[in-house]
């Protein structure tokens, strides 16, 4: 069991607020619960009063002021984070005219992330608060949208490159200052809202895969 105060000890003497987040999805209850535990016990905004993933991400102050343990914080924040994840997955879609991932917005259950109080840098998908059918990858500003990325773009590699580049820059600017990096490489999962022909498309794909396996395993084609 690791106390949050251990993190405070690590960053003692620093009031710096440098954070970075990279995630293909942010509507993950487990990750957000732990993020709640790590960040929201910091004594900043009361995330428990506003069960919001974005609010959680923006309710950051460093170093932590609470003596709560990480497991106890997770237990305390998991219900709100879970409910937020459940409701945040299917928000009404709204296009942001200013095209800014960190701009003030309110879409569905997701609370606005005020400019200047959230993560200093963000790279990844804004899961749950963007159109799930046409995801946009943000790096402060939209980096690429579905269909506009290069055919050879690999999100996991690109994310690692971006993380290394950002960590190096932050460390070079002030080597003695601690910072928090939330690096979450991972696969995107299926969308929870289907387009109109989504079920037919999924069924067709599965049928094609099954038939493909059947052809390959057929003894008449083995030779």
């Amino acid at each position: 069991m690791m106390r949050v105060t251990a993190f405070r000890a690590r960053s003692a003497g620093s009031s710096r607020r440098r954070r970075w987040i990279a995630s293909p999805r942010r509507d993950c209850a487990t990750r957000s619960s732990l993020l709640c535990a790590l960040l929201a016990d910091a004594g900043g905004a009361n995330h428990r009063a506003q069960p919001s993933l974005v609010g959680t991400a923006s309710a950051v102050s460093w170093p932590p002021a609470s003596r709560a343990t990480i497991p106890s914080s997770v237990r305390r924040t998991a219900p709100s984070a879970r409910s937020c994840a459940a409701t945040a997955m299917t928000p009404p879609v709204r296009k942001e005219p200013q095209h800014s991932g960190l701009s003030r917005k309110r879409v569905g259950a997701v609370r606005p992330m005020a400019v200047g109080v959230g993560f200093d840098y963000f790279y990844g998908f804004m899961g749950g608060e963007s159109d799930q059918c046409t995801l946009t990858c943000f790096a402060i500003i939209p980096r690429f949208s579905r269909g506009s990325a290069s055919p050879v773009t690999n999100l996991i590699t690109d994310m690692a490159d971006d993380a290394i580049r950002h960590i190096s820059a932050v460390n070079a600017s002030a080597p003695n200052k601690p910072f928090f990096c939330y690096y979450v490489p991972g696969a995107t999962i299926r969308r929870t809202t289907q387009p109109r022909n989504g079920s037919r498309s999924s069924k067709a794909s599965l049928t094609w895969a099954m038939k493909s396996c059947a052809r390959k395993s057929s003894p008449t084609r083995s030779g």
Partner: protein, 71 residues
Amino acid sequence: MYAGASLPRWDSLSVIQKKLYARQAEGLAAYAAYTDHEIGRVIQAVEDMGKLDNTLIIYMCGDNGTSSKAP
């Protein structure tokens, strides 16, 4: 058992089903290995900066563990 649904035993699957699910497992394993490699690059970058001994790395493996909507 997941979300009240019982999964069929592997032995009860047909040859075609086994082939499909084995292929899916291969894809997942490849993805996991690839991601592990990229995470290693980031950690190596921290080590190259000489900050690894002063860095806390919390590795969380899993996804949507408490969400009933997205497996």
